[in-house]
């Protein structure tokens, strides 16, 4: 006698979990959602008491981001935000890439060819992240001024690369540690050079780690404010700096404008994270566990 035996309990549990997760996710996402919504509000709507959820959406904030007219009826002035966005993308992109390249090579070195004092080096690398940026800001500022790096792309990119290196190295090293050396040894016996072994065998197995490092590095660099404030010039300014400057305005905080900037600013990060999602989850999965 065949009886249908549906796994009711399993399915119910899944939906229960979904419900709970939905509530939690909403709690986390709500402030972000609010920012996005505010971007579409007029200034009055944004400040409304009680806060409105239903409002007539407007794109004026987004327009104002890129063009601003000082006087009603006069020509709109390009705010230069296009350039700022480009700067952010360029600076973050290049520095993350550089950190990835240099860091992965270093991590490979630390992992496969440990030096005496390996642990000390690694710890020292970690300590570079420990100091409040406030303290190093002055010497770095002076250093940049002296070497003429201040205000240009190169200096900031190098600095951000140095920021992202510790995390990149720690992360990628734990990935390389995870790989069994047998495959590489086999390749070496077959006559591959060290470089080929690295590129063709080790690297493809750690793409997940690369994704995780890239995403985290991107998030940190993208939103960095303090050093960008001091070290970028008029032409290389990044969005967070420009954002801060919009806040100080004559009519107080223009929430709509700020929200619009932040919303636009969020998009690339979300896109990158979404694209690398699979790899990211896999990456964090195989990351730092010794089996």
């Amino acid at each position: 006698m065949a009886r249908r035996n549906a796994a009711h309990d399993i399915r119910d549990a899944s939906w229960g979990r979904t419900a709970l997760a939905a509530v939690v996710s909403l709690a986390y996402f709500f402030p972000v959602l609010w920012i996005i919504l505010t971007a579409f509000k007029t200034h009055n709507d944004a400040l409304a008491i009680p806060p409105t959820f239903l409002f007539r959406p407007t794109l004026e904030n987004f327009v104002t981001v890129f063009w601003r007219s000082y006087i009603k009826g006069a020509e709109a002035v390009d705010t230069g935000f296009g350039l700022f966005f480009f700067n952010s993308v360029f600076i973050a992109g290049v520095s993350v890439l550089l950190a990835l390249v240099i860091g992965t090579l270093a991590a490979y070195g630390f992992s496969r060819h440990p030096l005496t004092g390996n642990d000390t080096y690694l710890f020292a690398i970690l300590t570079t992240r420990m100091l409040p940026p406030i303290v190093v800001i002055i010497p770095i500022f002076l250093m940049f001024r002296v070497t003429g790096l201040s205000g240009g792309y190169a200096g900031v990119i190098l600095l951000y690369t140095a920021f992202n290196l510790p995390f990149a190295i720690w992360m990628m090293k734990s990935f390389f540690d995870e790989l069994s050396p047998d495959v590489e040894d086999a390749a070496r016996v077959d006559g591959s050079t060290g470089a080929r072994v690295f590129a063709k065998i080790a690297l493809p197995q750690v793409t997940a780690g690369l994704a995780a490092t890239a995403v985290f590095g991107l998030i940190l660099t993208w939103n960095e404010f303090l050093f960008a404030l001091l070290l970028t010039g008029v032409n290389t300014r990044t969005v967070p700096v420009a954002m801060a400057q919009t806040i100080g305005g004559d009519i107080g905080v223009r929430w709509g404008l700020l929200a619009a900037i932040e919303t636009l600013f969020l998009i690339p990060v979300i896109v990158v994270t979404f694209l690398l999602q699979h790899q990211l989850l896999r990456g964090v999965t195989f990351g730092t566990i010794k089996r």
């Binding site: 006698m1 009886r3 035996n5 796994a7 399993i10």
Partner: protein
Amino acid sequence: MSTIELRSVTKRFGDLVAVDAVDLGVSAGEVVCLLGPSGCGKTTTLRMIAGLESATAGDILIAGRRVNPLPPRARNVAMVFQFYALYPTLTARENLAYPLHADRLPASEIDARVRRVSAALALDAVLDRRPAQLAEGEKQRVAVGRAIIRDPSCFLFDEPLSRLDSQLREEMRGQIKEILTGLNKATVIVTHDQLEALTMADRIAVMRDGRIEQVATPHDIFTRPANLFVAGFIGTPQMNLVPATLVGHANGQARFRIGGQESALEVDPAVAHLRPGSAVTLGIRPRSVDLLSQADGSSLAARVDLLEPMGAETLIHLLEDGHDLRVVVNHQVAVEVGSRVHVRFRPGQVHVFDATERAVRA
């Protein structure tokens, strides 16, 4: 009453039917092997008994109780996993003792049982080591020990010997059989190794594509395979399966045309019910073929194509009319490649399979 009973159990993964209406009964003290190639559904069936997979349809009964809605912990089964599943941070001793905590036994009792099991499986020397420090065979014994330390309704083994080398396998085969006989519980063993099944099982259930092809004692599976698949699956070297046509039968013998030759063979009387001219498949095991010095009435001629020395025996590959035949003879028999020989199928050892691949038998 059977301790494990599967009634028309089916498992579907979306459109894929992994297990198709399987019926099986296992009595207390009986060892049943689920044998088959990968993907035949044997492991899925085992997991359904354990409760690690839910059955899409059908009933699973353990000790007379329908257990379909019950989670594994409520079914009182013990299982040995293919990858042993030893808890990596616990010592062998702690691994062995693990299942007993659920019964809230006093520490002295737990200790006593651990010592008993450890002695039975020769684990005394490694009790305080962690799985990472154990040899493969030791790990396997701890996994078995963890299962037998309890008093479950039944034992489930998932490919228990697959990770051992052949020497260890031989040792463990005998040991496990001994232990199981002593414990007298219903046991289901999943394996793809026919030798394991033949030596350890009281009954074998051969599976293919989710269905049970035949359930019988090892002896019956070997001597009376129910269909072409079982016939070809059991026995090393593989049984010869030769396409032929039934010409006719008379005098208790049936005449077959094989390739370009004809031969009269002694077969099961049920063959008489087949119509002359029907296409059949003849099954004959390599060791049931005799080499003759000269032709006789029922012999067949063939050319020797390849010789494979196997130590005490030699495997001869014969070729004729595009059909090949494997024969195993004593290594002292002298044969040359390329020569023509005469072979005779031993009377009573020829299996006839009809066009539906089923064995024709009374």
